[in-house]
């Protein structure tokens, strides 16, 4: 004999029986405001709420190597660019082998790509550098426009070649020009702003938890010596100038968790 299991605990999160129905019905159409994106309003009194088993856990691990957002030539172009941003060498993996293009693809397909946590309302006059991102585009729209603009620019400037076919020096030269804002891309695309976003996303994919599709096998963490999601260093705080022996661990573990 025991309590009926309802999937939520007693006195769970959704206190107020009347509220659940009303809020549930309204949630789909609720105005999304202020980061909460339609979570129903709650009234809470008397106890700290808790739902058994609940977790605001990260997304399920990304699987597969194919692209879901990049189309046609975009994938090869991204691969060729990030391969120069973080090239492979004996020090550690390059961005491509670390899975950065897959990471960026999944990010652009998801809430980041759709401009979550970006304010995109107008008007959109040109701002000062201090005013930061002033585009009306979501990151996904920005990538789409910028990749096409870069491809078109290369085609024109290098006699019909694709970026991936350029010599490494020529690739780096173009990327440096984008970084410095000295190359004018077609269709008014802001190459410098795009480079800033792409470099940031590349480092994100390189160093974030492998659950997001990049940092394959935690190789980027291994390269620098970062133990990843390890949570407890109390025994090592006062051990100065020693190498901490913990192998990197990701949210979903490490090889030692499953080795037979």
């Amino acid at each position: 004999m025991g309590r009926e299991s309802k999937g939520i605990s007693r006195r769970g999160l959704l206190t107020g029986g009347a509220a659940i129905g009303a809020a549930g019905a309204a949630a789909a159409a609720a105005p999304k405001h202020d980061g909460e994106l339609g979570a129903p309003p709650q009234a809470i009194r008397g106890e700290v709420p808790w739902i058994e088993g609940a977790a605001d856990a990260p997304p399920q691990a990304m699987s597969g190597k194919g692209y879901v957002w990049f189309t046609g030539a975009e994938g090869p172009l991204i691969e060729a660019i990030v391969d120069r941003l973080i090239p492979p060498d004996p020090t550690g993996p390059g961005a491509v082998e670390a899975g950065v293009p897959v990471f960026i693809d999944r990010q652009l397909a998801g809430p980041f790509g759709q401009g979550q946590h970006f304010y995109l309302g107008g008007p959109w006059p040109k701002g000062t550098p201090e005013q930061g991102y002033q585009s009306r585009f979501t990151p996904a729209q920005f990538y789409r426009a910028a990749l096409k603009a870069i491809a078109d620019h290369v085609f024109k400037a290098y006699g019909g070649l694709e970026f991936k076919s350029l010599q490494p020096d020529a690739k780096d030269k173009l990327l440096k020009d984008l970084e410095a804002g000295t190359v004018e891309l077609p269709d008014g695309v802001d190459g410098k702003a795009f480079f800033t976003m792409l470099l940031q996303n590349t480092k994100e994919g390189y160093f974030s938890d492998p659950i997001y599709g990049g940092n394959r096998d935690m190789a980027a963490w291994t390269m620098i010596g970062f133990p990843g999601a390890h949570y407890d260093y109390r025994d090592w705080v006062s051990r100065h100038n020693e190498r901490v022996p913990f192998p990197p661990v990701a949210f979903k573990g490490r090889p030692g968790w499953t080795a037979s």
Partner: protein, 590 residues
Amino acid sequence: MATTLKPVDAVIVGFGWTGAILGQQLCDAGLDVVALERGPWRDTATDWATTFAQDELRYMWRHHLFQNVTYDTLTIRNNTGQDALPMRRLGSFLLGTGVGSGGVHWNGQIWRFLPSDFQAKSHNAQRYGKKAVTDYDLTVQDWGITYEELEPHYDKFDKLCGTSGKAGNLKGQIQPGGNPFEGPRSDEYPTPPMAQTYGPTLFGQAAANMGYHPFPHPSGNLSQPYVNPLGCQIGECTYCGFCEKFGCGNYSKASPQTTVLPYLMRKPNFLLRTESEVLRIETTADKKMATGVTYVDSSGQEYFQPAGMVILSAYILHNVRLLLLSGIGGQPYDPKTGEGVVGKNYAYQTTSSVNLFFDDKLINPFIGAGSHATVIDEFNGDNFDHAGLGFIGGGYIGGMITGGRPIEMIYTPQGTPAWGLEWKKAAAKNYLRSFALSIHGACMSHRGNYLDLDPTYRDAFGRPMLRMTFDFTDNEHKMSDYLTAKAAGVAKAMNPREIKVNGRKGSWSVVPYQTTHNTGGAIMGDNPKASVVNKYLQLWDVPNVFSMGAGAYPQNAGYNPTGTLAALAYHSADAIKAQYLKAPGPLVQA
């Protein structure tokens, strides 16, 4: 059409640190209290558990715990000659939202301001002449309160959090190992200081050799388990390196969730409403009394919550905006005339850093905590002679390691490109052998730095956004140059292979993260012509509205603001309980 709800004694607008403190204080006094929080409920084990809290991408770079600017942001510009444009992406500061708000994702740095900080105008004018506080169009003011008045309330907050540290001044007696410059403390810290890793230890040794007085940073990441006076339990820090911008998974960072809510949420006279955003404060027709607040919840329903008292405890930018939208608090500030008070004296924090790179020393920067640092206070406030320096104010310098999160915190030497093979090799070579000294400086108020309502941009509810007009002044630049040079001096004395100085140059930019220490706009003072609230944080013009938080700071000191805003909240709560409830009305006669 708003639905009118059952009246309550007090409504709390925003449920972070000050909302939680006022909720606890007023409920314990027997008041019927409703708190309105625009964000969701969230708690340790479900929303930033040890199982996934260490997610740099999701929390730092995708802003998962922060205000979502998609629906509401502010507009920004450096001066009145520019058009303010929306802050389309969080950067320079990371606004909180949700239950606990910034108290969830702060570093836990718990400081007290210096006694002289509260008399920034009169003290500096007396020591350096009147010009020192009016140069560069500074609009520095005294606070209308003294350190001595606040001390018992600082102590309460320390005991709430279980702050880890070492006193430097116990009842006037200077203590070895602590900060000799601090104001007298009535009691030692509740828990001993945090242990220090190699980097901060090296800083402390070098600083001591130079004749400075290094001490462990006072910390809301606790050195040992602690039970506070409410019975709430704060755990022992594991130095995981995910504090700032993250929630703490094992209960070891002081936050509303760890220190107050377990107690407060049990109260039958306390009700929390989440996903409920206050649109404005309602008043009587003559604007002399507030009648309650109007809010809208995430189902789109609008409500009027009548209340005997309104406690504004949202973040400073939202408190100021609500005052402006509601037409209370006094006249909006006008930088042309210098008249008006609401939005006046917006200030920030002046930060810089020095990176150190070693060949022979393993720093292991991933072992860190939000307040894990050894610091010196020789160059803060008026702890040093400013004669001839051309600025007032100062800051602390610390060998600080909050963590080694690799997307944000890989340091490479001067001249290293930002990408390519050279960058990668530098990252691999230096990650374990580098860290940074932090310089955390004051920001004086200035005639041209202020907050008002934007004429163009509106939020999802059709309300004008807040407009921020801000830039660092020559006072800040000179101060920062001076402090950064001092830090570089200590850095060199630590004998690294090389250093890299990241000075505070040019105009304030919204892009790189600096610090979420926005202050002013609803400042406190001793008269309604120069301030919005009195020393009890009570509005001069609408005495049943109290405006909490760092918005009350007439200018910002060289310390992190949370300790002082918490002390001011306790001070205000005491006055409400001891005086206001017995005789509602102005607590200070104008």
